[in-house]
Amino acid sequence: MHKPPVIFMRFFRWFCRPELRTYIEGDLIELYNERLYEKGKRSADFCFAFDVFLLFRPSIIKSFRGLQPVNNPAMIKSYFTIGWRNLLRNKGYSIINIGGLAIGMAIAILIGLWVYDEVSYDKNFDNYTRIAQVLQNQTFDGQVETWGSQAMQLGAELRSNYSNYFDHVVIATFPSGHKLTFNNKTVNMTGSFAEPAIAEMLTLDMVQGTRKSLNGINGALLSRSAALALFGNEDPINKMIRIDHDFDATVTGIYEDLAENSSFAEYDVLLSWQIIGPDLEKRTGWGNSWFRCLVQLRENVSLSVASEGIKDAKLKRVLVEDDDVRFKPALFLHPMNRWRLYSEFENGVYAGGQIQYVRMMLLIGVFVLFLACINFMNLSTARSEQRAKEVGIRKSIGSLRMQLISQFFSESLLVALLAFIFSLMIVQSALPWFNEVSGKNLSILWQSLWFWLACAGFAIVTGLISGTYPALFLSSFQPVKVLKGTFKAGRNAFLPRKILVVVQFTVSVTLIVSTVIILNQIKFAQSRPIGYSINGIVSVPIRDAVVMKHYDVLRDEILKTGMVEEVAATESAITSTYTTNSGFDWYGKDPNRTEEFVTTGVTHEFGKTIGWKMKAGRDFSRDIGTDSSAFIINEAAAKYLGMKDPLGETMKWGTNGEWKIIGVVENMITQSPYNSVEPMIFFLESNRIAWVQFNQVNIKLSPDANAAEALDKIAPIFKKYDPDNAVEYMFADQEFGKKFDEERRIGNLAMVSTVLAIFISCLGLFGLASFVASQRTKEIGIRKILGASIPQLWQLLSKDFVILVIISCIVSVPFSFYFMSDWLTQYDYRIDISWQIYAVAWLGSIVVTLLTISFQSIRTALRNPVGALRSE
């Protein structure tokens, strides 16, 4: 006789109500046999399965009553009551538990807020999914560089030949400070010249005027706050304002300030492209990538298609018009929702960016919270013997295991809830500090339903995670053993707890090592010899080109104050020389090389001002007229040129003629202190390269001069030649210091999370130690009577924990080594990970552990044995 398919039979037996099971089963088998006889096995099997499937309906499926015993509110209430009483009875444990968990949760919430802010960046524009910036990959010397800037001709090109992809194409200048003047009142506002479609693209919320009003020849849109600053209560519409003392513009519209967490947050003024466009068109070509090109995709065009489609848009044009072909420009689109988090490119492909910090922060948050959960697990299971009797009695009067599990879950939920309330308080009080460290303006989203839902979910999940192990462990006791009094958690019961402690300390030690390495790396870079002197150098940015026309007189006057050693003007700021040029040729140059040099125009006294060190040759001199066609190069450039003795050699610079190398200076750190020094060329201001724009006047103050006094004397001199602009100062050492901000921020972050991780881990260890000590009171009493000394007892009680910490130290080595080597590779100039770093971290963690547990173990060891042994 054949049997119906087993899985369906089993499935049916599993779901069917027990009181109906045999009868329906009988019916099914009877039908099956009949069909088997009539239609064959296959058909019968199929019909059987179909019948079973149709039987799967509410009236046939058994009730969940047996599986879900706790829908009884009185019982749940009693669980919480018991849990609450337990918390009150063991105040010490409760404080450690709740405190640890609250700190962990507070960190997690803070990090959550931070991540939310990062992720929600640029999401506040209606069409943000369709907006993108056009970037270009160009190949220099085999290296692909990704530029965010484009030639202005690209705008017209995309509009006319690629219009099937785009709704809007906008060419704009990069945002910069603009002086807006109205009725003798001047305010400084950041903004851009942009083609009119930008208003539509950003869906500006217009307060006055329309988005179209940027179309005019000299229109200007102001943000509400900019309008308020400039006009006060006056009606700004159709008022004429002066921009940077160069152009006139008419205010044609006011828009609501843009959201703070967007890439356009600082845009306070948008100026019509017509103001500068026609003039620029005459002066620039495809080789001048000076502008930003933004596009908005058509509704049904996918980004990848458009990105692929415009790839050769520039190449096709430069083939006919320019010589930039050799850089092989390839265009692509960078969508707005990736601007913030994925902004770095390496060799033309995405190389992360801010997202790395987001990931790192998330990792830290999860770890810290996880450590706090481990504390909870350890302390609950450690106290299991105290609660074993309760479990035994509950079981013998009829509790199911499920009920006990839910009881312990409800206790852990209670703790999680309390911890959550405390964590909110901690977050609220730590936010100002956190905002300062992270450079953000975060606040608890009291009003957001989503925030509360997320928090509630988060508290529950934390409660469940930390409650799972204790609930399963505690509910597994056998009532007979427990109540007979022979219950002793065996060796195996300690193993999971030990593993958890090892995990905790592995994380902590890894964090300690990372922090030490980060701090060392920062210190290492800070103490890197920079090759010149930045102390006492003040830079005054040149806001009006007129200053350079009077440069010599200005310099004389500044020198006459007597508080200044030397003055020199430069093209770039000393601490950020990012102007580069190519088109150089020299004897012996590899023709395939697409070279690029950092080029800096200077005045004669530049070397003296910053105190550079000549390696060979001589400095620029006012007495030698031919110096106007001379280069001074740095060592890196000398090496790059590949000449044995570069002095006296000539270099050709595109259409700018021939230049003679008269000197080689030592390498100077003028860019990132972590990278190797780029090849640099210094040349004098002269008629040969009239297009070079001098942007800084650098002043070396006398060492004995008071900076404030000196500046008071210098400011009027600048005011005399540039009466319209306020005089601004930058101290070179401060500017240089800013280069470490990013790393310092990571260092701070790592330090804070390390301290917290150690604190939380030690909190747990403290709880465990005190528990173990209280358990072994009698043993220690007997040992004392038999003559054990206090150091022996201390050793006895501490040994176990110290061994665990040493294991963690060893386990943490591969993790920390892997992560930190990876982190360090981003720096050319970096430290090696040495054994000393590990030694320091290990020693530190062992000392901290000993301090934590010694408090308990020494207290126990000192106790009078009479008290310990009399207790029964």
């Binding site: 019916d27 046999n33 149709l54 309906r57």
Partner: protein
């Protein structure tokens, strides 16, 4: 098993008494809204009548076959069993265990018979139908077109 609206219990003390009071009241309210004395769906009616036809031989497979044969419609085991369970819960049918046979692999049959309440329910359904039939005006069923 009675299903109790959970929301009633979230906050009160002495929940059990008031809970049941609310619950019975709720049921009464539902009944009065339906204004139905005997609930009998179309398929349920067919099943009951078939149980009647088969008299002492009404169990799962035989009922299924009888309906399939007489009404020329397919009946799934699931639909039939859940209808039988509903009818038994309502008290219109009662069941007793029968013999176990070879072709059922030793599983007993479960025979159904109509109870007195079930009989009244069937009669009620029948009379309501008849009353409805009678109430239909002649013209509605045999429309005649004049002119």
């Amino acid at each position: 098993m009675r299903k109790i609206p959970v929301a009633k219990y979230t906050s009160n003390k002495g929940f059990s008494d008031s809970g049941i009071i609310i619950n019975t009241a709720f049921r009464k309210l539902l009944c009065s809204v339906r204004m139905k004395k005997y609930q009998l769906g179309e398929f349920e009616e067919v099943v009951m009548l078939t149980v009647g036809i088969l008299y002492n031989d009404a169990y799962g497979v035989s009922i299924k076959k009888e309906i399939e044969q007489r009404l020329a419609r397919k009946v799934s085991v699931g639909a039939l069993q859940s209808a039988l369970k509903r009818l038994e819960d309502k008290g219109y049918l009662k069941s007793h265990e029968g013999e176990a046979t070879q072709e059922r692999a030793g599983r007993p049959r479960r025979y159904f018979v109509i109870t007195a309440l079930g009989k009244r329910a069937l009669e009620h359904t029948k009379t309501t139908r008849e009353n409805l039939w009678k109430a239909i005006p002649e013209i509605a069923l045999n429309p005649r077109f004049t002119g």
